[in-house]
Symmetry: C2
Subunit: 520 residues, 2 copies
């Protein structure tokens, strides 16, 4: 294998790590398993947020949520942030998108700076620096940025909103029902598998890759699935059954007074109220598992195409999920909270470089984070980054078995529940809803604004069920974790308008600039 010329950055939405067979899970994912055999499967990969938008912005900027500022879905990405596409463009390359990004445009900045949204510059700022094959964020009727609705109509799914009428609709014995209703999760979607969202995005990507020929490329193929609505096209709707689900896991503190107030407040959310009923989780999970299998199938098509075109030889492949999902574990639905079901994600990287042969097919236990993806891609392509902004680290030294003197011993994630019902349940202001997680190999500690922290000793409580709560006194372990979180907050990269090299060059230079201090 040879040097990296192309990058394929694959992402799934709301894919739980413990689904994949290569992670010991219950869904057979032969293609992701194959990818893992070609590269490195990371055992301890974490995202920076349990919410898609913030998590993705960390992937795209290489910065923690506290640095890029997108604390929840639909918070605009500041025009002052630099993304993968921006760094690549400065080197004469593009980052191209097929699928989901969840980027919200900083319209106020565009207006302030006099940039037309529809201009080339405006489009890049609007789309987080990506050039688009197709933006498709999923879980809503496709908007004008996507050709999917037209594609559906061209294939016989007539109507103004074929997504709602076919893709997330089912035929229940002659009655058309909605995939938004979880009771219908066992039914096949009214769309043929080859016209489903996952198939469609794969087709768009494959066509584009082929059209590139020998030209180098960087593609972000970002699937909107297995994210809800929980409805799969045949045959994936019936690939798994209730018996395949395994245990729905509850902790002894779930819903009790011993539980953390923020977690308890999340139980007031619609999805938690539903998923707290085990029969809901048992009814929905097989469909979720089928959606995972479907994504795996289409990733297999992509891998096959790369093999056929000789592109496995020169393409760095990164596979990640933006976060997991509870699906009934802990009696919760959805995501957001900073438990490992949510922030500990599947992550596989295949580096074609021959220096990576030594690690090929292996696993890596060191902590990696979403913020590492951008610097890894830049490093692989030999494109300069910006150490004064980028907070992640290139993973190439790990992939290539190089000696790394010091690696991180903790990972960090954040939550802002200001937009959620939990805020009203807890009677908090919109600026008072932040949580910060630090997780080491041994512990997890979550600081909650206005409430006691959560704390778990993972050696004795790997499932994070036993939070000692406010009962304990001074604990040196908790103290150390709080200090680690402090150090992390205090070292975020705020000085973003001047490069580290410029600081180095301008250190102690007042004399040269005609400023004469301390001269007698």
């Amino acid at each position: 294998m040879s040097a990296v010329r192309n990058v394929l950055f694959l992402m799934c939405d709301q894919l739980r790590r413990d689904c994949l067979s290569c992670y010991g899970g219950r869904v057979d994912t032969p293609n992701l398993d194959r990818l893992a055999r070609c590269g490195v499967r990371f055992e301890n990969a974490f995202v920076q947020s349990g919410v898609g938008g913030p998590s993705r912005m960390s992937f795209y900027t290489g910065r923690y949520v506290n640095s890029h500022g997108v604390t929840w879905n639909n918070v605009p990405l500041s025009a002052a942030e630099y993304t993968l596409g921006d760094y690549l463009r400065a080197a004469g390359r593009n980052a191209t998108l097929a699928g989901k990004t969840h980027v919200a445009a900083d319209a106020a900045a565009l207006a302030r700076f006099g940039i037309e949204v529809e201009s080339e510059r405006g489009a890049l700022l609007r789309e987080g620096g990506f050039a688009s094959i197709e933006r498709y964020d999923g879980h809503r009727p496709p908007g004008p940025e996507s050709a999917y609705a037209d594609f559906l109509r061209a294939h016989g799914y007539a109507g103004a909103d074929p997504w709602s009428d076919y893709v997330i609709a089912a035929d229940d014995g002659g009655r058309i029902v909605s995939g938004w209703q979880m009771r219908n999760a066992h039914l096949p979607a009214r769309v043929a598998e080859e016209h489903s969202e996952t198939a469609y995005l794969t087709d768009r990507a494959l066509g584009w890759i082929e059209a590139q020929g020998a030209s180098p490329w960087v593609l972000h193929l970002s699937y909107a699935k297995p994210h809800w609505p929980y409805l799969a096209p045949a045959p994936y709707h019936e690939l798994y059954r209730g018996r395949d689900v395994g245990p729905i896991r509850r902790g002894a503190q779930d819903g009790t007074a011993a539980e953390h107030p923020v977690v308890r407040a999340y139980r007031a959310h619609d999805e938690a109220l539903a998923f707290a009923r085990e029969e809901v989780a048992r009814h929905v999970r097989p469909t979720y598992m089928g959606l995972v299998a479907q994504v795996d199938h289409h990733i297999g098509r992509v891998l096959d195409a790369l093999v056929a075109q000789g592109r496995m030889e020169d393409t760095l492949i990164v596979f990640a999920s933006d976060h997991g999902e509870f699906a009934g574990d802990r009696g919760l639905g959805e995501k957001e909270l900073l438990y490992d079901e949510i922030v500990h994600v599947p992550f596989i990287v295949c580096d074609p470089d021959q220096r990576a042969d030594a690690t090929r097919g292996g696993t890596e236990k060191r902590f990696v984070e979403a913020v590492d993806v951008l610097p890894t891609i830049l490093d692989a392509l030999g494109v300069a980054g910006a150490p004064h902004r980028i907070e992640g680290r290139s993973l190439l030294p790990l992939l290539r078995g190089e000696a790394v003197p010091a690696w991180r011993e903790a990972v960090f994630a954040e939550l802002d529940y200001g937009f959620r019902r939990a805020r009203r349940v807890l009677d908090r202001g919109v600026q008072e809803c932040r949580g910060f997680m630090v997780r080491t190999a041994r512990h997890k500690y979550v600081h909650w604004q206005g409430f006691r922290p959560q704390f778990f000793d993972l050696a004795f409580d790997p499932d994070e069920y036993d939070d000692p709560g406010a009962e304990t006194g001074f604990d040196p372990d908790r103290q150390r974790l709080a200090e680690r979180l402090f150090d992390w907050l205090a070292t975020r990269k705020r000085r973003t308008t001047v490069s580290d090299a410029d600081v180095e060059r301008n250190t102690d230079t007042h004399q040269a600039r005609g400023i004469h201090l301390g001269v007698w």
Copy 2:
């Protein structure tokens, strides 16, 4: 007195609080004392940085250094930040500048957004949102942004650089010597007082105020003095003598191994090497005091003009300094370090509104900060701010004697010594040089990246001489201060692209947006 129509925001550069007679100091400042009698003199006002650039950006944005990102002088102010001028302009008003801002333009952002530096939009971004009568940053030969060099030439100070040849030059018995050399501080500058920087800026401001007539205005009159070079025009060069200086204060730990490593590293700076010699401090301080008296004199001219024009009746006057200076105390020169000589500043506000009559001539002991100036000005003018960005609080309730249920119990400041020789002395990387101060009425605690904290119990050690250092074990006071600092860092305003009102409006609205969670 009536409602506020105009704002005069007066600032001095490097003016120590304990110089002013109204603060019990050794310089007779009748005009600032007069201003204090018309308004409120704040006993506990703190700046957010001991360095001019960062401190000023906190005044201009209402945000802490950690939020606006200008961690040291000449770090560009991100184009994404909003300043006083930006908020006023959105309400159809301007913030006009005469003097110093230390704003460095975010040229990279302007280029990225396709904004010409010389365009109207570019000029505002370049100048931190201020419309300019005249930008004059001082302590360098005036650049093209200032008319001062031409003014000097028009008044007979010939040559390419009349600032260096006259304003900071002196005649030592027929030999022309430089004010950069502190040995010359006792000599009068070669510029006549009425042509000095302070007189010139005052004239520019007075002319402009008069030209406004009855139109409302907001003026930032920002003096470059008493900042070095330490050279005063006659008669201010000889207003004070060595006997007026008073004690140069040293602590028992100064320069010893017990001292904090960062403080010790600052002793390697040219200004500290010079000011460590008491004769240097004793030689320079009278001139510094004279420069303070000169600024006071010209502020008196401004006040007289406002009285004459009836503008005291409708003008909010804010007076502040960007930081203090050591001038030999602790054996240090200049500023930067987070001692009270530097961050505890003079601060006077005169609110013409009759609701402020109750506090007129009084003092206020509650903690106020530089970040409060912007929200105070906006509040006085009835201009909307942006609670999702602005971190300070309006001082009008304090000025108008309103009941304020909860006020801050601590103030915060920061230092980034990445650009200083101290970094090389300590062998630190450019991202490893941050300090964070929290000060309560009782304690000061400074967290230093990579080093032990500084800690002072001000009840028993008001001069901050006795840092217990690393010797002590667990201390509940230190612990509480560290937690306070953590809470402060964790609550900085990062979600700057969406308003608080929008978050409130969009809380728990997924259903309305067509996203149906948890529906069975």
